[in-house]
Amino acid sequence: MLNYLWGFMIFIGIIVGVLGGNVAGIGNAAIDSSKEAVTLCIAMLGVMSMWTGLMQVAKKSGLVTSFTKALRPVIRFLFPDIPKDHIVNEYIASNMIANILGLGWAATPMGLMAMRELKKLNQNSNTASCDMCTLLIVNISSLQLIPVNIIAYRSQYGSVNPAEIILPGIIATSVSTLAGVIFATVARKLSRYK
């Protein structure tokens, strides 16, 4: 996907630049942007490490486990077709908690394990089960409470108050998740009538 997108962006950029007479700026922009990416990553190292460090404390102290337990009733509601004590409940809970806490890299492996188990529950069918659809929709609706990256970028580009978007972001994210959950629940009910 990115192979095409990236090539396309550079190609269009150079063509438009030549046609519009901005060609002198292009070389400089390429060099400056590559340097800027590194500066940004150095700044991000700080904020990201602060977050992962804090999350490690939360994990080790058992806080994450207790959050995962607290999520059980939510999972029963969202995934009514999964047997109550099935291991996939754990995978889904870990996936959601990792997403909520902004640990995307930890969320994906858990999500993929959940998908494989859901496939077994679905008689290895090639068609997605309702539970799979719900898992994907909820994941895509974004669960992350604190957008750590965005706060880091805002601070790097001189925001007076980088954290001011946290609560507005939480509200918007809740709306998108709620919309996704309503859609998934209604679609599940409708597919039963078929």
């Binding site: 996907m1 990236w6 962006m9 269009i12 950029g13 438009v16 630049g17 901005n22 060609v23 700026g25 292009i26 922009a29 942007s33 590559s34 800027e36 940004l40 990553c41 990201m48 490490s49 992962t52 460090g53 804090l54 490690q56 404390v57 939360a58 102290s61 058992g62 890299w105 993929l112 998908m115 090639n126 068609t127 799979m132 659809c133 898992l135 994907l136 929709i137 895509i140 609706s141 974004s142 992350q144 604190i146 990256n149 965005i150 970028y153 805002r154 580009y157 925001s159 954290a163 001011e164 609560l167 507005p168 918007a172 994210t173 709306v175 998108s176 919309a179 996704g180 859609f183 679609a187």
Partner: protein, 175 residues
């Protein structure tokens, strides 16, 4: 509605207080664990660094050539109809496919208009309330070997649209 911004300032201190406090109560060696976890942050950043360099170069070229301005000009009739800023349409569309490409465009918005401008705030909130649709679907369904994804895409689009509309409303109200 400025209390939304005001309360936002309490969230990070609260998270610190809660996690560190809980760690102390459970007698976790909090500092050792913090430093251990901080190392993971390096890995995360190093992983995205090459992608970010490549994409920021591409966006830099697009900006310098005038192609990005041209694009928002071309999109203006559509976005005016939708009451959505034309500068932000490319990034909201790109975000459906690639999160890192969207990040590079986000940084371009910050550079051009500032993170505290209306556009800067709005896009910060939009990006914190949406996820990469097609990438996530590809990874998850490929791993499970599922071909027919049924209503997943429709649901994901509904959630993304709802999040984007909510972002616009909340940005207008909070700031």
């Amino acid at each position: 509605m400025s209390f939304i911004v005001y309360l936002s300032n309490y969230i990070i201190p609260f998270i610190f207080f809660y996690i560190i406090g809980y760690g102390m109560l459970t007698k976790t060696s909090i500092y050792d664990e913090f430093t251990k976890g901080a190392k993971d942050g390096f890995k995360v950043v190093l992983d995205i660094m090459p992608t970010l360099i490549g994409l920021m170069i591409a966006i830099g070229i697009l900006r310098a050539s005038g192609a990005l301005n041209l694009l928002s000009k071309l999109l203006e009739p559509v976005t005016n109809l939708l009451h959505f800023p034309s500068e932000l349409l490319p990034i909201t569309l790109v975000k459906m496919f690639s999160s890192s490409a969207a990040t590079s465009l986000l940084l371009d918005i910050y550079k051009e208009y500032g993170p505290d401008s209306y556009l800067g705030r709005l896009i910060s909130i939009i990006l914190s309330s949406t996820e990469t649709i097609f990438y996530t679907m590809a990874v998850y369904f490929l791993a499970a070997g599922v071909k027919k994804t049924r209503y997943t895409l429709a649901g994901a689009l509904v959630a993304t649209l709802a999040g984007t509309i909510a972002s616009i409303i909340i940005t207008n109200m909070a700031f």
